[in-house]
Structures are given as structure tokens and as C-alpha cells.
């Protein structure tokens, strides 16, 4: 559009811009300004770098939101949380990102810590910055998978069992053998399994009296045949957090972690409709730990946060929200005193604990993952 020309051009009427350039540029500026404003507020808060934030990569529904906002209010850093459904997913993400993931804290389950440390995925902890570490019950520190707690600090420990809908399953269930039986009968098509390859394998081994830490090829082949041929057709879905499904009565039978099942049952309109079973043959004993990711942008904030949650009161609040034993000294008494519901789903009796097996990462791990892939493919038939 000639601005100061003395030459009049013969242009078709359509060339006369109805929307003047000024209006158009103004619109662009407006959009740009909005974007800039958005950038400003993003940059100061949850920026991708060490600008006063804290990025946690953890399991879903695994922290009390009140605890998180209290941390931000008292200590400062704003927290962002991303969640995953299995250790394999977490490790795959950290390995793929090779230090650029931007996460500060992750929550590996105990058996993966040695390998993660060896693969250079974790930073060493500076325990001087975590004075509340002395609150942790000595039974849970200095374990075989992380001597001296160089890389990790316990967050919570629990076990795996299953929950079932008593209105759909007439009989009383007590063992993993019952679980697999009901899976093929009353719960067919309404069954959910955890997304963890190892957990499903352990459930099979316990039911059949095999040591879950086995690496014997014969055992693995038996497991593969059983799970892909007998069980696959009955699975409705794979979910790591069946609590929501339990609340909605969307399943009849769900393999579940004890705390998640407890949360789901308590939220259900009729909690007595569901029962959680700690199977009689035993179960997987797992311990989730706070660890700092290699290349974390905010290591100081990470240490502060870990220290914060090891405070007895904060730990109690976490326990009441997530429903798992947080492993601090005297936490069980405190929880009972605070009136926690369904405490038997949080704290195990000595008889139950005796049968729980501490999982280990061994050569069978690759086989578990391969069989799980086959299972998910076979489940579609």
C-alpha cells in the first residue's frame, strides 16, 4: 500500500485491504504481548532451569497436596510433579533423556537403585543437608541395595495384594491361588493387573510355591505359558492405580498396592463392599525411596524437600494421605493415635511381614519385560 505516492495505481477493488495493516499489526502485537506476559509468569515460577523450582518425578497420588503447598510456603520453591506408572517407565525416561530430563527428584523402588546408580542416573546424597534423616526407623536404612544410603532415603514401604468386589465374588479369598482362580472365573473380563512386569510374575510364583527370586528358565517358561494363555483373555485393563476403579466399582478383581487399594475402598460409597487381601503365600515387599536425579537443576531444593518430608508431623500427614508406612520411628503409634482408618491395610502383622519377600533385580528382569509385552499383545485376542 503506497503511503506517500503521487502515482495513482489502477488496482482491482479487491486489493484495497479492508483490514488495515495497522489493525493487523496491532493484533499481532497484542498476541505477542500476551505471550510475553505468559512467559514472564512462567519463567519466574516453574521455569525449566534452576530458577527456584523443584521438579519431582514420582508415582501418582503419592504426596499430600497440602504438604506440597506447605513446603512452598515455608521453604520457597514451587513444586511441579510428573507421574509414572512403573519403574520401567521412569527409568526409560531418565535413560532416554540422558541428564536433560529436568527432574530433580525421582522415586525408584529399592531393587532398581543399584543398577541406576551404576548407570549414572542418580546423584549422591549429601546427608548433612538432611538432618531429619535420624528420624527414620533404623530397620529401613543402610539396606543391601544402598549401603550407607548414598543415593536414597526411604519414603514408604508396602506390599502388593489384590482387592475384590464381594458382591460379585461369593466366596472368601485369601491367597494368590484364589486370585488366579477367580481371575479366570467370576472376574473374567473385569480383571485388572498392575503395569509392573515383575509384580505379575511374583504373583504367579507365590501362587505356585516357587521362589519369586528365581531365574530358572523352566520356571519362567511356565509363567509365560500360564499368563499368556490362561490369563490374557480375561484381563480388562492394565492399571497401576486401580484405586479409582475400586471407588467406581469398575472392576471385580484388581491387583493392587495396599495403600492405593485402601484409598479406593475408603472413597467408595460402600467401603464394606470391597476387601483387600494380603495373600497367605506371601507377597512382594517393596520400598520406594527418594533419590536425586543426575543432572538435577535444583539439587539444594531437592535436599530441602527430602529433609522436609522426614519431619515426623509431615510424615504422618503423608501417611494418612497415601496409606503407606513411611518408615519413621514411632509412626505406627502416631498413626493409630491420629485415628487412621483401615490401619490393617497400612501396617502388617509380624506373621504377614515374615512372608513378604524383598524384591531383587536379577537376570530374570529382561524375561519379565518380554513376557509382559507378550501378555499385553495377547490380551487383545
Amino acid at each position: 500500500m503506497p503511503e506517500s505516492s503521487d502515482v495513482r495505481l489502477l488496482l482491482p477493488a479487491s486489493m484495497t485491504a479492508r483490514v488495515s495493516r495497522r489493525l493487523f499489526l496491532g493484533g499481532l502485537l497484542g498476541a505477542g504481548a500476551t505471550a510475553a506476559l505468559a512467559a514472564c509468569s512462567t519463567g519466574s515460577g516453574s521455569g525449566s532451569g534452576g530458577s527456584g523450582g523443584l521438579n519431582i518425578y514420582t508415582w501418582g497420588e503419592y504426596d499430600d497436596p497440602d504438604v506440597l503447598s506447605a513446603f512452598t510456603k515455608e521453604v520457597g520453591p514451587k513444586i511441579t510433579i510428573d507421574s509414572y506408572g512403573s519403574n520401567q517407565e521412569m527409568i526409560a525416561k531418565l535413560v532416554a533423556a540422558a541428564g536433560t530430563s529436568g527432574y530433580d527428584i525421582c522415586l525408584p523402588t529399592h531393587q532398581y537403585i543399584p543398577q541406576m546408580a551404576a548407570s549414572d542416573l542418580l546423584e549422591e546424597l549429601d546427608l548433612d543437608k538432611i538432618p531429619n534423616f535420624e528420624n527414620v526407623d533404623p530397620a529401613y536404612i543402610d539396606q543391601s541395595f544402598d549401603p550407607g544410603n548414598r543415593y536414597s532415603v526411604p519414603k514408604a514401604w508396602g506390599s502388593t495384594g489384590y482387592a475384590y468386589d464381594t458382591t460379585a465374588v461369593g466366596r472368601e479369598l485369601t491367597s494368590w491361588a484364589d486370585f488366579w482362580d477367580v481371575a479366570q472365573n467370576e472376574a473374567s473380563g473385569s480383571l485388572s493387573l498392575l503395569e509392573d512386569p515383575g509384580e505379575i510374575a511374583y504373583a504367579y510364583f507365590f501362587a505356585n510355591g516357587i521362589d519369586p527370586l528365581t531365574t530358572d528358565e523352566g520356571h519362567l517358561e511356565e509363567y509365560r505359558a500360564f499368563i499368556t494363555e490362561k490369563i490374557a483373555p480375561h484381563v480388562q485393563t492394565f492399571e497401576s492405580y486401580p484405586g479409582a476403579s475400586i471407588t467406581n466399582n469398575a472392576r471385580v478383581l484388581a491387583q493392587a498396592f495396599n495403600g492405593d487399594a485402601r484409598a479406593g475402598i475408603l472413597e467408595n460409597e460402600d467401603p464394606s463392599r470391597w476387601r483387600y487381601v494380603t495373600p497367605s503365600e506371601g507377597g512382594n515387599l517393596w520400598q520406594d525411596n527418594w533419590a536425586i536425579v543426575k543432572g538435577a537443576p535444583n539439587p539444594d531444593a531437592a535436599h530441602d524437600f527430602i529433609n522436609y518430608v522426614l519431619d515426623p508431623e509431615v510424615s504422618l500427614a503423608e501417611l494418612l494421605y497415601i496409606g503407606y508406612n513411611t518408615g519413621l520411628k514411632g509412626i505406627e503409634e502416631a498413626a493409630v493415635a491420629a485415628g487412621a482408618e483401615l490401619p490393617e491395610l497400612i501396617f502388617f502383622t509380624p506373621e504377614q511381614t515374615a512372608k513378604l519377600v524383598f524384591a531383587e533385580l536379577n537376570d530374570a528382569e529382561q524375561a519379565y519385560v518380554d513376557i509382559y509385552d507378550e501378555l499385553t499383545a495377547a490380551a487383545g485376542q
Partner: protein, 318 residues
Amino acid sequence: MAADPVAAPAVRQSRRRLRWSVGMLALPIGAWLIFFFIVPFGLILWYSFGEKPSLYVTHSNDVLSLDRYLEAVSPAFLQTFGRTLEISVVGTVLCLLIAFPMAYWMATKLSPSRQGLVLALVLIPYWTNFLVRTIGWQITLSPEGFLSEGLQALGLRDGPLEVLYTMPAVQLGVVYNYLPLMILPLYVALERMDHRLLEASRDLGANAVESFRRVTLPLALPGIAAGMLLVFVPLMGDYITPSVLGGAQGGMVGQMVAGQFNRAQNWALGSAMAVILMLAILAVVVLFVLVARLFGFVVRRVQHVDLTAVLPAQGAAR
């Protein structure tokens, strides 16, 4: 518009500069796409010839082989692949069947102002997040949801709705999600159609069905082809709809590929699967184009009217 044969050298020079400078405009996008699309794809093509050496190492290309491709066409993968192909083909056809009458209605039966309104109405759901729309179906189809309760209350069903987490749920989801992509090209093609041709056809004695078959349909073919392409391709690689609605039984290839990267840390196998997926899509598209060409060729031969034979005195009537 033709170049002035006696234009001064200066004018010719500036025109050549015009041509050259216009051509350069395509350079940035070419470089961008090559750097961020072709090269990464080449990278995973490279990975697909490698292997997974140990548990926590994702890939290694020390030993090159086609073994990953053999592994990728294992029975488990092929079964999922077959299911994906089935869902995609059925989904595309269903989209076409549902979209065509809608597009026809929009293009021919509505006044231009109404057309704009209805077009906007078609597009508005499309402006909602894909994932959230699919979650809307998850809520609707859930066994404890309002639809299930409603159907049971009306006596149309004995028990809770059991569609969710099955293949039909995924089928419904994909048809819903990709329907606008089929409606749009059909609408454009039908809207461009000259209605005088239909009038002429009626004047010459064809009834509605014949007019449709011999006039409307051939004119709409480019739109149909575009729509089918726009629907089939993303449908084959869809990752979200089966994740939300499919559960264990509605798995599709996209999830398998993702699983190799997200969980199994087997980049070599995942890359091989991704390459196979792309080749399969290309193969189906090429096949479709060939079949369509063949079909068009046959139809044209059959319906061709040689006017030179009818009107020899006037020569070719073109």
C-alpha cells in the same frame, strides 16, 4: 501476462531476480524439515539395524542386522498390527459413510450463510482437545455412567454397559475423532460442484439415483480420496484413542511402538516397528491410489462417448 518480447534488458534482469528470489523462499522450510524430520527419521532407521545389548542400555549399533525386523513381525506384533489395520479400514469406511450425507446436506441443501454456521458447528468439537473429547466418551461409556444407568432404567439392557475397554469402543472413538477430517474435504468438493450439471442431467432424463451416480459421485471423488487419506493415516498410528478407550483388548500398533521406547527401553526393536508401521501406511496408500486409478480408468473407458463417431461432419466436438 506474456513476457513482453521487447522488454528492456533491465526489466528482464529484474524479472530473473524476481524468479530467483521467489525460489529462495522455499529454502528455510526445506532446511527446517530436513534437520528436524528427515535426519531424526534416518536416526531411527539406523537404530533399527542395531540391537539391545543389555538391560539398561537402550541400543547399540555394534552389530548390524535385520534381526529386529524379524522380531518385529513376530506373531504378537502381527496380531496387533492386524487389529490396527482392521480398526483403521473399518473406521475410514464408517467415517465416509457417515460424513458423505452430512457433507452433501451442508453443500447442497443449505443456504450459503447457513453453510458457514454449520461448518463452524462441525469444527467446534474439533477445537476441543483430542484427548479430552475421548475422555468424554470414556465417561459416557463407563459401566457406572449415565448412559449405562439410563439404558438399564429404560430396560434396554440387563446389566451395566460393557462396551468400554473393548475393540468396539475404540472403533467408536476413532470414527468420532476423525469424522470432521472426512467431512471437510467432502464438503469442499461437493460445494465446488456446479449444480447446473445436475440440472442438465435431470433435463436429459436421468433420475435422482442415476444423477447421483454419474454426476455427483465422480465430482466428489477427489474429496473422497482426500478425506480417506486424511483419516486413514493418523488413524493407523493413533496412540491416544486406544489408550483411553481400549484397555487391554483394544491395543493398537502405536502403543506397541511407544511401549518399546517408554518401558522396555528397546530402541532397536521400537525403531524397527516404527519403520514397519510407516512402510505399511505407505503401502496401503499406494495400493489405494493404484486401485483408484485403475477403477477410474475402467469407468472412463466404459462411459466414454466418442462424439467424433456421432458428429463426423463437425469434427471432434471438444
